[in-house]
């Protein structure tokens, strides 16, 4: 830790001001309680305050040293005892020497000095204690502040890592099935195979991007989502029917990237994987006072029981919204008749930088 008083200009100013007041107080005290001259009283007050102030500034360095080397309490006390004796010795000697030099051997002052030496030492010891305690207080305040900063940093890092993990969870099943479709298309339709490779590459690039701005405008998200859906359409053919109804004013709203893909994946999983019939997936987005409402709904067979799943897709979306927006965003799912709907509510202007 750097010196608490020397490091900041205004702190140093306050420091000197305090010593000025102490020196003034001492001068006045001596003026009224003894019979020595006013000039002697004031030079005594001035010199002892200035010298103690300089010694006190220097005391910081051993205190900081003691604090970082972890000594036992006994050794710490012993250290301070020795330091106090040295500091007070220097202070007393220098003050006497300078005042006498300044006053040119004042006899009255000499006898006053003899009489006041014990008060002087007592006051010095007290000031020494106050200075040391102030330093310790400052060190511990600094430690707490530093700890808080460290904790905040750590928390941010954890959040960041978690977001990273939650985001790029492209189902490997999707990837390998797509590659298999491409492999098949190379035989029957090389043109479409190439098209699919390009779409898959573009989509993967978007999904895996590690760019800092993790939110994108809805238009970008939708463009990349369409790449994903085009690939799925090649896999599922006529079984997958898509509808989109997005208000133009929604397109500029920022959303976390890859937030819609898991919802579509879920819709495809429950719609297309569990029924051999045609499945409609509808997307709509509207702007509602300061937020956008995106809903994705798909047909499903209410009689069907999914073979088993962990529901990680939807949970990941929920967790990401929470990390980005706290409780100002939400995901709600409803099942009505034979339609499953996932509804996203995302605030428009939100401080999304974590």
């Amino acid at each position: 830790m750097i010196h608490p008083f020397l490091s900041k200009r205004n702190r140093l100013l306050v420091y000197w001001l305090i010593w000025l007041i102490i020196g003034l107080g001492q001068s006045l005290l001596i003026t009224f309680s003894s019979d020595i001259s006013v000039s002697a009283s004031f030079s005594d007050g001035f010199f002892s305050a200035v010298i103690f102030a300089i010694i006190a500034v220097a005391l910081w360095f051993p205190v900081n040293q003691f604090n970082t080397s972890r000594n036992s309490l006994l050794i710490a006390i012993l250290n301070h005892l020795i330091m106090a004796i040295i500091a007070l010795g220097i202070w007393v000697f220098l003050t006497k020497f300078l005042v006498l030099t300044f006053l040119q051997d004042n006899v009255a002052y000499k006898s006053f000095w003899e009489n006041s030496i014990y008060y002087r030492l007592g006051a010095g010891a007290f000031m020494y204690a106050v200075v040391i305690l102030t330093y310790y207080l400052m060190i511990s305040i600094d430690n707490i502040a530093e700890k808080n900063i460290r904790e905040a940093k750590l928390e941010n890092m954890l959040k960041e890592t978690e977001l990273m993990m939650l985001r790029s969870q492209i189902n490997p099943h999707f990837l390998f099935n797509s590659l298999n479709s491409i492999s098949s298309l190379t035989i029957s339709d090389a043109e479409r195979a190439r098209e699919m490779v390009i779409k898959l590459s573009d989509f993967m690039r978007y999904a895996l991007s590690r760019k800092d701005d993790r939110t994108v405008i809805l238009q970008t998200e939708l463009e990349n989502l369409r790449l994903y859906l085009d690939i799925e359409k090649i896999r599922f053919g006529e079984r997958l029917v898509l509808e989109e109804n997005v208000q133009d004013e929604c397109l500029v709203v920022r959303v976390p990237n890859m937030i819609l893909q898991p919802l579509y994946e879920n819709a495809i999983k429950h719609g297309v994987y569990e029924s051999a019939d045609v499945v409609n997936i509808k997307l709509s987005a509207i702007r509602v006072n300061g937020a956008i409402n995106i809903s994705i709904s798909n047909d499903f067979d209410p009689e069907s029981i999914p073979p088993g799943g962990t529901g990680t897709g939807l949970n990941n979306v929920r967790r990401r919204l929470e990390l980005y927006y706290g409780n100002r965003a939400w995901l709600k799912t409803t099942k009505e008749d034979s339609v499953f709907t996932a509804e996203l509510y995302i605030p428009e202007q939100a401080d999304i930088k974590i």
């Binding site: 099943h173 990837l175 590659l179 298999n180 491409i182 896999r235 053919g237 994987y273 999914p306 088993g308």
Partner: protein
């Protein structure tokens, strides 16, 4: 080649491009004749019954009935080549039982090898029922807990939702499943269900009983050191000493 010397094959695979690549590769195998194609597991099951193929290409993740569920209720014993994109559970199961499988996307060479091996087994009259049984009764954990159990009655396939199961009772090589709408017998092991049903919903209270916690009414002492579980509908099931210990950890009574 003589028509009746040909091996008959059925493709059960929900994605069209995936079916077409199998057809394309098979086109070069004159000894194999494709007799049918299915886009879901239920169609697969019915077609196996109708066409009785020698060989099937079976995908795992499919609508209506998954590849593994199809195996559970299959009465015929065709030779099987599994195809899957990514399923750690399935791959582990195949590896443990030395079953041939193709990981999508697969090369023609890899495909040819699998088909040649299958043809040899069919020609030598090897019986695949052993590995089919082993595959469906794997003592390993699935990637996700079971959510339904497939049951076959003749041509009718139905599913018991796991949440409807009250308890299961071991009966030799079988397990009798008692659910809210009746009971069903499955050729399966208790161990399989114990490790694949949701662990926080079922307790093995006895060597022969696996019980849904939700359906237990209360537990009462029954003789020295033994207990009895009384189900919500009044049925009484024995509790072993270790079963009682597990019960005590999980529910308060």
């Amino acid at each position: 080649m003589n028509e009746k010397d040909q091996i008959t094959a059925l493709i059960i695979e929900d994605e069209e491009p995936a079916r077409s690549i199998i057809k394309h590769y098979l086109g070069k195998h004159e000894s194999v004749k494709i007799v049918g194609e299915c886009a879901d597991g239920y169609c697969g099951l019915m077609s196996i019954k109708d066409l009785n193929p020698d060989l099937i290409f079976l995908d795992i993740q499919m609508p209506k009935l998954t590849g593994f569920e199809l195996l559970e209720v299959l009465e015929e014993k065709p030779e099987i080549i599994f195809t899957t994109a990514f399923d750690e559970y399935a791959i582990k199961a195949f590896d443990m039982n030395a079953v041939d499988y193709l990981l999508k996307p697969f090369s023609e060479k890899r495909f040819d090898d699998a088909v040649e091996k299958a043809i040899t087994r069919i020609k030598t009259g090897a019986d695949p029922s052993g590995y089919i049984r082993k595959l469906t009764a794997g003592g390993f954990e699935r990637s996700a807990p079971l959510n339904r159990i497939v049951v076959r009655k003749g041509n009718a396939i139905s599913f018991i939702p796991v949440k409807n199961i009250r308890y299961m009772q071991a009966e030799d090589d079988y397990v009798m499943i008692y659910h809210v709408n009746g009971k069903a017998l499955k050729l399966q092991t208790m161990k399989y269900y114990e490790s694949n049903l949701p662990v926080n919903e079922f307790i093995r209270i006895h060597r022969s009983y696996l019980v849904s916690i939700e359906h237990i009414g209360r537990v009462e002492p029954y003789g020295k050191d033994t207990y009895i579980a009384i189900m919500k509908d009044g049925e009484r099931l024995p509790v072993s000493r270790s079963g009682y210990k597990k019960l005590k950890e999980r529910i308060s009574f």
